[in-house]
Subunit: 244 residues, 2 copies
């Protein structure tokens, strides 16, 4: 299972993904699900992947191999807008599925994949998209500032409560980590290391890129503080008047 | 969508279900998903239903119609144990699916259903089961004291943190209501009234049975207190040392 979150805040973008890939509990591996595409001082793009690993790896490889522009096709480096770049990813995904989907499905496998894609091209505002398995996509806005893909539900309530477009980037990384904590507690298929990347508007580089490992001291402190906080909130809640 | 929770605590059982049934947002109705079967001072059983409404209504109706024992079949009133009673429900579910499943599936509908079933028969301990769509079932234990059916994921993290076998029944009703709050915030298909029933061991009756309505004052207070509590926990969490 996979869990990825991308958020668009007023000061920049926050991306987080776990690194667990599994086909059943006895076939568990660690793969990166976060890829970056950048030209110094001109564009910075981040792609988070969920779903069939053969599909997502094929999409990412093709996106990378085309970057030299030799094929004559539009690339993430030639795209004039993030919208055009998202369209290229969607089209690449469709191409991969066209080649492989029927064979995977014939063996009752799920060939599908989805992506969170965000970044900025110089002279334009940063943007964040969720790309569906069909290759179409939606865009984040101040009202809906975050997207999730993969094992999304356990970690959604805390994001719904905390993520606001106007919040500080550092606070947003904390909200993302707590959301991962919730997902990890309820689904053993979501696991560290957590790949965390923060992009600050107009920097055209990764302003923070860290691996939150299993034994990470800060993550441990955060999880404990949050867990204890929830328990003390629960203990202090007003009791109902009913008699049992 | 449906959301139901059942918990087995040291002092008794707690059941909660929403009442929303929908087939798309333009076809929303309110149906009870909590049924009781009882013989005064001898047995008390509660059944929570999720899934295809035609399937669950057919199962509940058949369980009720057989209670007079005229058909000669084993019934929830003749069962010598909760295990036997759960078996009867599973068998009834299989019978309904055998009759209807292929026709529903032919129209791409989902005919399946699942249940939480709990209660007590005099002279025996209270028990709690989750009955799968296949008619088989698992039983709760002090280590795994609760089950969920329906739209389970949003409301699971808070139950994982708070529900303990040794907790007071009143605290468990509060944990269940907060779990419903999380489910309702993230899925508009889960909605009040919430049917809440508490059974205290050896009472053989509903010790509390209330409808938590949309405008319920206590539920409103609880939701606000919990939401504000989470936000103040979040605000007081230790910040990471990284610089963004």
């Amino acid at each position: 299972m996979t869990y990825c979150v991308g958020a668009m805040l007023k000061d920049g973008l926050v991306f987080a993904s776990d690194s667990r890939t599994n086909a059943g509990v006895d076939h568990v591996s660690t793969f990166r699900k976060l890829s970056t595409f950048s030209i110094e001082d001109e564009r910075f793009m981040v792609l988070l992947s969920a779903g069939n690993l053969a599909t997502t790896q094929s999409v990412v490889t093709q996106l990378n191999e085309r970057l030299d522009g030799l094929s004559g096709e539009a690339t993430l480096f030639s795209a004039k807008s993030m919208f055009e770049a998202a369209t290229i990813i969607g089209t690449t995904l469709r191409g991969v599925l066209e080649l492989h989907a029927s064979f995977v499905q014939a063996q009752e496998g799920d060939p599908f994949a989805s992506f969170i894609f965000g970044g900025q091209i110089k002279g334009r505002p940063p943007r964040l998209f969720q790309i569906y398995s069909a290759g179409n996509f939606i865009e984040a806005s101040p009202d809906t500032p975050y997207f999730q893909i993969g094992e999304t539900k356990y970690g959604k309530p805390i994001l719904d409560r905390t993520i606001k477009h106007g919040m500080a980037l550092k606070r947003a990384t904390m909200a993302a980590l707590i959301s991962f904590d919730s997902a990890m507690r309820s689904n053993m298929g979501v696991a560290p290391p957590i790949d965390l990347l923060v992009y600050r508007n107009d920097s055209f580089k990764a302003d923070l890129r860290i691996d939150v490992l299993d034994g990470d001291t800060y993550f441990g402190t955060l999880r404990r503080a949050y867990g204890q906080g929830i328990m003390s909130v629960f203990e202090s809640l007003p009791e109902p008047s009913w008699t049992i």
